[in-house]
Symmetry: D2
Subunit: 179 residues, 4 copies
């Protein structure tokens, strides 16, 4: 049976909405954790530093060695949660593309994982970024396609013209349950 669902997509692609819908439609309780959880857990000073994670004015996100070290432990811990019996939805932005996927794949070794690409046309994602009024304008476009390059999925959804709930239902159909 599926133990981990990894949602990978750029900023404003709609991953967290899909995660929320998955939690509502899947029969068991699933935890939703993601890179935002990790960033919130880091020291405030790391959120504005070259050693940690920096959000540049043009939407680029730069990640330093201290971020990478904490992230590696975080990934190991999320994998351990799944091994301990929690079903986990991972909401991720593979800034490093296939390197990011490899890090997760190695940590999740032996677990049944459903890899999902969450795509959204750059212009649509950019509009949603404006609609939210967040800081960090530019991330949606910068990440929309880059995070998918070289990444391999079991399933891809596109939120450009499909609601989060509909995407979640398509993903849920691919989740395997114990008979």
């Amino acid at each position: 049976m599926t133990q981990v669902i990894v949602l990978n997509g750029g900023s404003s692609s709609g991953k967290s909405g899909i995660a929320g819908c998955l939690q509502a439609v899947l029969p068991d309780p699933w935890l939703a954790l993601g890179v935002d959880t990790l960033v919130d857990a880091m020291p405030a000073a790391m959120r504005e530093s070259g050693d940690g994670i920096e959000f540049a004015a043009d939407g680029e996100v730069v990640v330093g060695p201290e971020f990478r070290a904490l992230e590696a432990a975080w990934i190991a811990g999320v994998a351990a949660m799944a091994r301990a019996g929690a079903r986990v939805i991972v909401d991720e932005v593979f800034l490093g593309g296939p390197d990011s996927q490899r890090r997760w794949r190695e940590a999740l070794d032996g677990l049944v994982v459903l890899w999902v690409g969450v795509r959204c046309e750059p212009a649509v994602a950019a509009g949603r970024e404006v609609a939210r009024g967040d800081r960090g304008a530019g991330m949606a476009v910068a990440q929309a396609e880059a995070v998918h390059r070289g990444v391999v999925y079991d399933l891809e959804v596109d939120t450009s013209r499909t609601e989060a709930m509909e995407c979640a239902r398509a993903i849920a159909q691919r989740v395997r349950f114990q008979g």
Copy 2:
């Protein structure tokens, strides 16, 4: 020239996203204020009381006399902001339908107002409510059609299959500017 844009729609219909896009595409700075601003400004105790505003488990919202009294002063104040030169986007849920509109219409008397209905199919709004994971599930469906009954608009948009940015552009075309 247009001084106030009133967006009326149910919970999860996408009004605040449209407001954010309007602020980005309109040439002048506009303030975005709404019933959420008012509720946040009220005493915490009023947010769970029959005299104030109660959010029932089935999605119904019940508004009491203390809420109405503060709301009347709030509306007068927002109108005064517009008269003092601020352009204001009002993000509202007309729980009372035409009665709600009348309250705003009287307060905004003499100002140039663009009345916009923000529609969203109940099932779509309900899905977005789930995607957000908010409390108060049920409000989207309860309000989707009720808030529009008997209300008169200059323009209606439907977010069911149209992005917030596209809706905002349609609204912006109806905003009149000084020549």
Copy 3:
């Protein structure tokens, strides 16, 4: 009877906690509005622009002409809410000191106002800023004393060693009610 309570103090001085306690201990419902409400209502682009409001890395806050124009209309609107019968707690940071107070005093002309200075030792406010983990570190120290220079109060409280609730009770004793 008192119609408006103006709380002026630097960032992290504890104004919003006092406002929340005042709303709980005062017998009538009071609205709590402040400069944060105004900033949130502004276009996102204005929150990072020299024409709007900029938060510098050293804690300095720079306010431009577009901010001033919207702020003037905002102040007029808040005054109109009080004239329309709402009791209002204003949670402010007088970056301009006596000039800021004059702007509010003129707008509130004819209303019964209680002016309250909310002081906090710079080192204590700085510690609370760190505790919150907000961006914008440095504002607490930059503003702690500057916002009070030349400002005249009916009452001053100091949160350095006094809880918000205790400050609120001291303020509430100075609020006049109809007999």
Copy 4:
């Protein structure tokens, strides 16, 4: 050297402020994770259900079997993060007192843990709960003393009259570093 700092205290006792200050004063980057992170990661429906976690009107928090199951996996995962090299501050509310501590102690077996009790007089915590204007009034008083009964600490701090930063410095002095 210390690998995990467990902060246990009731709602509004000031744990998260201490965690933020610890992250600022400790020389290495520490992750701050806690029961709030876990609750946010759960399905929205579990946050209002007897199987999950319910916040009663009187401040009581009732935890059901589905919550316990996810929590056990969560605790195992946080322990795995520490074993993988992350230093972790755990911000917890031991609703079950010594039973809660035992669950963490078993999961953290073999790690160097600093157990910290964060105390706050019930009346002070209740005032801070009002100051925040959160829902769930009553939790501060209900938990202030109950969460400490039967729990064993290396160190206790009391935020009633001591700032978060000062408490953090006292805790930091007890954190052991590699020589």
